[in-house]
Amino acid sequence: MLVWCVCYVVHIVKRFVAVVAMACLSSSRLCARVQDKLLCQFGHKVRKQTVFVKLKPPGPSPLRIFGKTCQRVSTCGPTCGTGGINAAATSGLVRRMASSLQSTSTGSLPDYGTQIVDPYRLLEDDLNGIYEDIRSELERNTNQPELNTIATYYFDGQGKALRPMVAILMARAVNYHVYGENSALLPSQRQVAMISEMIHSASLIHDDVIDQSDFRRGKPSVNVLWNHKKVAMAGDFILAVASMMIARLRSDDVTLVLSQVVTDLVQGEFMQLGSKETENERFAHYLTKTYRKTASLIANSVKAVALLSGADESTSELAFQYGRNLGLSFQLVDDLLDFVSSAHAMGKPTAADLKLGLATAPVLFACEKYPELNPMIMRRFQEPGDVQKAYELVHKSRGLEQTRFLARKHGAEAARLAADLADSPYQKGLVVTTDLVLNRIK
């Protein structure tokens, strides 16, 4: 047993050396990467589901998890430390989590072709401080303390930061595509990442007032804590500051592209107010609404970063289509998770869409098998028992499966588009992101 342990430790150290040789990584990440290649001490294989854990800024708040349970990884932590790798790495691991994705091959020396690429870690330095920067931009723009408090409430770093991450990832990938290896992230592109997160949050704030939600991201929604009128104004404020930031980029095209987002967001909300009669119309309506409410922001922000990069029209269009497919996939998974996940994992209550009277993809698919859902959809699940019945029927039908299939289709399309960009770690990251979106659990 002891011999085994020693051999094991030696094995770890060898890996340690190998991994050190390849790229400049901070010591804390090193430990994590070693974890990637190996299994946990307990020999727990990291399974097909992508375990993906996000970085979190230092603070007492709970770690964000973008994938599986953190437990397995955290138990690796202390032992990993005692395995002889420096203590700094351990403490780093406690605060940062390993990310590991199933790779198709187990090459001995990592190379980006087959290596696990974790986009969040790849962009760690760029993403670091995104939330702080947004908060200070908001603070700089008001002399009213309460406005500042409400406006910065959702910028505490607890969100998934998917939109900024994708924007920066695309920015770097397109920069690499256009300018090659020595390309850097432009400050304007980083601004676009911040802007996309701000627009997203402003829409969340208004959504919370509209939907009277209770919880978001694991804490009370903003409408629970404050006067609704002030909350509405805070949303407008964030939008105004984001517009000022867009204007400071001094690019007509980028302003046009990003202002389209705001229009789409509102039109998407309006679409949600209405409803369509026939099944076919309903699905098309749902897809258009989904594009406007979710995909448009991602699509247009990646298009904007591509424009800022100086890419040609076909590349910008490619970026746009990538974002669009990714966004659609993301929302379809979101609608799916509303039916399968638990409230604890999501940070917000589930079956929320049904309770709001919204018929999302799983329900629309389930209609084929259970036409009794049709009248329920038309009356927006208002009658007592509707929500429960619909929930059950969706689970009984193939609706969830079909939704996942559609999400995968869009994800695959996004990955295919990304493959057209020049090879780079960032381009790989774009492909990996489509997987992340599909396999998330919250």
């Binding site: 009213q144 500051v241 302003t255």
Partner: protein, 428 residues
């Protein structure tokens, strides 16, 4: 955007306001300290057939000068899909108490309070200032004398203002005060109000983007930011209605800072507790900034230098404040009203003179409806709050007119002067 160009074809004939040599000297009361040059310029000329200037007349005359009815509450607005949607939903609210209905009514009602005149002011300033020769012909709406972009800007101004008013028409469902209406109705009304306001804001973003002028976008976005800030200034009741702050004794007041900021947020030093400055700060944020920045933006579009743009900002700001003073005074003329604005200038000055009256304001912490308006009304009439407000209005009017003087003489300038005359307190 292109629809608005269609309406250019449908405009009415330009009516030249009859020029007259009569100087309306009562525009400047006995108290202005500024020397205003009145001899070489034409002042507000009165419509021939009626000796008393009238607000509606001034506005409708002015509208003819700049082309067609400037308010975007015209066919284009009505034809929009989303607004049709909103109207449909609004119908469900009829009979409920939701403030959105009142806002919608005020939008259409043609009174001094309505915001239809905002776009008009921007267009008049645009026309009065003219444009620099470099602007290509295609962009000019020659017959109306304004650029197409300026017309779009006027629309944007109105949309932003309307959006703000609509968003102010939400009901705070978190209030501990019982809301005397169906909660479902209120929530639905909130939803519609929020969406409509967002729609207007989004539309104004798009139109601004189409103007392809990033400085403009920055300027107008800062105006939206100011409007949002206005809702946070000072004390509020549970429905976010504003309450004046307790007046600070003279010794405790901080020195005031200059307000020539445009993009940066309005500095708050020395504002809270000082009657005059708090009133001014509140209304600059709530109205002056938007009107001022729109006027400034209109001049920017015309290619004028930054000095004139600043003048435009000052003009709009002072005009909005003069307007506000007028509205504040309105409550104290005629029969005693059931309630009036607690942050109006007359009350602010009265509270400053008699701080013990602030106890009445304290009663309004939960809801402004709990305040003893009768007692306050009497106190205002007894004191010299009204006189101070009139003086305040005269000062702002004087500042606005001073800027107006720097514009070349033309019908648009006269129309603006007419409007200013119509809002003078002597015409209450």
């Amino acid at each position: 955007m292109s629809l608005s160009r269609l309406y250019c074809v449908v405009r009415s004939d330009l009516v030249k306001v009859q020029s007259s040599s009569a100087l309306v000297s009562k525009l400047w009361g006995p108290c202005t300290t500024r020397e205003v040059n009145t001899c070489s310029t034409q002042r507000a000329s009165v419509a021939q057939h009626n000796s008393k200037p009238d607000w509606n007349r001034a506005v409708s005359e002015a509208e003819k000068i700049v082309g067609y009815p400037t308010s975007f509450l015209s066919l284009r607005w009505v034809l929009s899909d989303e607004i049709a949607n909103v109207a449909l939903h609004l119908r469900k609210l009829v009979g409920s108490n939701h403030p959105l209905l009142k806002t919608a009514k005020n939008l259409i009602y043609n009174g001094k309070n309505n915001m239809q005149a905002w776009g008009l002011i921007v267009l008049l300033v645009s026309k009065a200032a003219g444009h620099s020769p470099e602007i290509p012909d295609m962009e000019q709406d020659k017959a109306a004398g304004v650029l197409h972009s300026q017309r779009a800007l006027a629309e944007v101004t109105e949309m932003i203002r309307t959006s703000h008013l609509v968003h102010k028409g939400l009901v705070n469902m978190n209030s501990r005060q019982p809301i005397a209406a169906e909660p479902d109705d209120m929530m639905f009304g909130n939803k519609i109000a929020l969406l409509s306001g967002d729609y207007l804001l989004a539309n104004s973003c798009s139109e601004l983007a189409n103007l392809r002028n990033q400085e403009l976008v920055e300027l107008m976005s800062s105006a939206v930011r100011d409007l949002a800030e206005a809702e946070f200034l000072g004390e509020r009741d549970e429905q976010n209605n504003p309450l004046p702050s307790r007046p600070l004794p003279k010794e405790e007041r901080q020195p005031a800072t200059e307000w020539d900021c445009i993009i940066d947020p309005l500095p708050m030093a020395g504002v809270i507790g000082s009657a005059g400055r708090e009133w001014a700060a509140r209304h600059v944020l709530a109205a002056g900034a938007l009107l001022g920045k729109s006027c400034s933006a209109a001049l920017k579009l015309a290619g004028h230098n930054s000095q004139l743009q600043t003048q435009g900002y000052l003009f709009g700001c002072h005009l909005a404040l003069a307007w506000q003073a007028f509205l504040d005074l309105e409550a104290f003329t005629g029969p005693e009203p059931a309630s009036f604005s607690l942050v109006g200038a007359p009350l602010a000055f009265t509270l400053e003179a008699r701080p013990e009256l602030y106890e009445y304001i304290e009663a309004g912490r939960k809801s402004v409806h709990d305040v003893d308006y009768h007692a306050l009304y009497k106190a205002v009439l007894e004191g010299d709050g009204l006189e101070q407000t009139k003086q305040l209005q005269r000062e702002h009017i004087a500042c606005a007119v001073q800027v107006l003087d720097s514009f070349p003489n033309c019908d648009a300038r006269t129309a603006l002067a007419n409007i200013i005359v119509a809002m003078h307190h002597e015409h209450l």
